[in-house]
């Protein structure tokens, strides 16, 4: 048998060993109309070849061993990949497969997912500043602003009350008389307004 014929024969044996045989072996057609041999014919041809050729049997055994070695190596390599990488890969794949959400709430959720770190940082900082503002808020009245923070007014005993003071009194077109009355209930300031026409009439 010539060299090219041996190469074709070895190729056919490899395809047989891998279960991929779909053509002629050793130039023997399998009786199909399109020149292809059927599976039973191919098996018979290969079996006959292996029975009479010890080299072919060795080659088939070697090819099967190499196939087992390659398969085992790939399986071990797959086991060595970290689970987290697989999880990330699947997540990316799922993200690409999922339909993009279009609702307002979905967009808001996506925004918060994207900026979660910044939102937390901002909220914590704001809380700290607000707490400081509450703590540092002046709790005593500011002497520059009389009456500030004077939440409750003390109603002092009548005997301790000061006489009312008129700071200003304007009676446009008339006149006024101020009368201070004191009794057991305290002071009463009476501001008597007299219209101008009444004044003129007196």
């Amino acid at each position: 048998m010539s060299e090219p014929a041996d190469a074709r024969s070895d190729l056919a044996l490899m395809e047989y060993a891998d279960g991929e045989i779909d053509g002629q072996i050793d130039g023997q057609p399998g009786g199909q109309p399109d020149g292809q041999i059927n599976e039973e014919t191919a098996d018979a041809v290969v079996a006959a070849r292996l029975a009479r050729d010890p080299d072919a049997r060795v080659k088939v055994a070697a090819i099967k061993q190499i196939g087992e070695l390659v398969r085992g190596h790939l399986e071990l390599s797959a086991d060595a990949v970290h689970d987290a990488k697989f999880a990330a890969m699947w997540r990316r794949i799922d993200d690409q497969l999922e339909q993009p959400a279009t609702g307002l709430w979905a967009r808001v959720s996506r925004w918060f997912d994207r900026y979660r770190g910044h939102v937390i940082t901002g909220a914590v900082s704001a809380g700290a500043v607000a707490a400081l503002a509450l703590i540092l808020r002046p709790s005593t009245p500011d002497p520059g602003i009389p009456g500030r923070n004077a939440a409750a007014i003390d109603v002092r005993p009548v005997a301790l009350r000061a006489t009312p003071e008129i700071d200003s009194l304007d009676t446009p077109g008339g006149s006024s008389t101020v009368i201070n009355l004191d009794d057991e209930d305290g002071h009463t300031t009476v501001i008597w307004l007299t219209p101008a026409d009444t004044v003129e009439g007196i």
Partner: protein, 156 residues
């Protein structure tokens, strides 16, 4: 500054500004006083009569200078919480009035500005008085036929 930092700053401002504003508002809201306004009509008649609702000032009304009249009728009554520097309208049956808390002095006195307009809308008084909490200020405005129009106020 990157857009992400702007996001952080924006969130910070959204929380801090209302918090500070609330604090300042609370501080301002502290400066208040509660005042009661009694609008009274006074007449001279045959039979003395004082409305029961006027009991807080009844004893005062029986003494001079109010003894010119002997019939007193409550026209309106208002409770107002005055906020510092904010003019509060006081609704009256005759004319109109406003009251403004200028400040609280020594924790026991209020400095008030009161304006009164007559029924024609003409201002008849613009007065600022410092008065102890619990004491009274009574404005008396003469009307036709020697009737009187009184506005009594007291704050706590």
């Amino acid at each position: 500054m990157t857009s992400r930092r702007w996001v952080t700053v924006a969130i910070l401002m959204m929380v801090v500004v209302p918090a500070l504003a609330g604090t300042m508002k609370e501080a301002r809201a502290d400066v208040t006083t509660d005042c009661e306004f009694l609008e009274i009509s006074a007449k001279a008649g045959g039979k003395p009569a004082i409305d029961a609702e006027l009991s807080p000032v009844e004893k005062k009304l029986k003494k001079p200078p109010f003894s010119t009249w002997n019939q007193f009728k409550l026209l309106s009554r208002s409770q107002k919480s005055l906020v510092k520097k904010k003019a509060e309208p006081v609704s009256l049956k005759i004319g109109a009035a406003t009251a403004t808390l200028v400040e609280i002095v020594d924790k026991s006195k209020v400095r008030l500005t009161v304006t009164m307009d007559d029924e024609k809308g003409k201002q008849v008084a613009n007065n600022t008085t410092t008065v102890e909490a619990g004491d009274y200020v009574i404005y008396v405005h003469g009307l036709a036929n020697n009737d009187g129009h009184l506005l009594s106020l007291t704050c706590k």
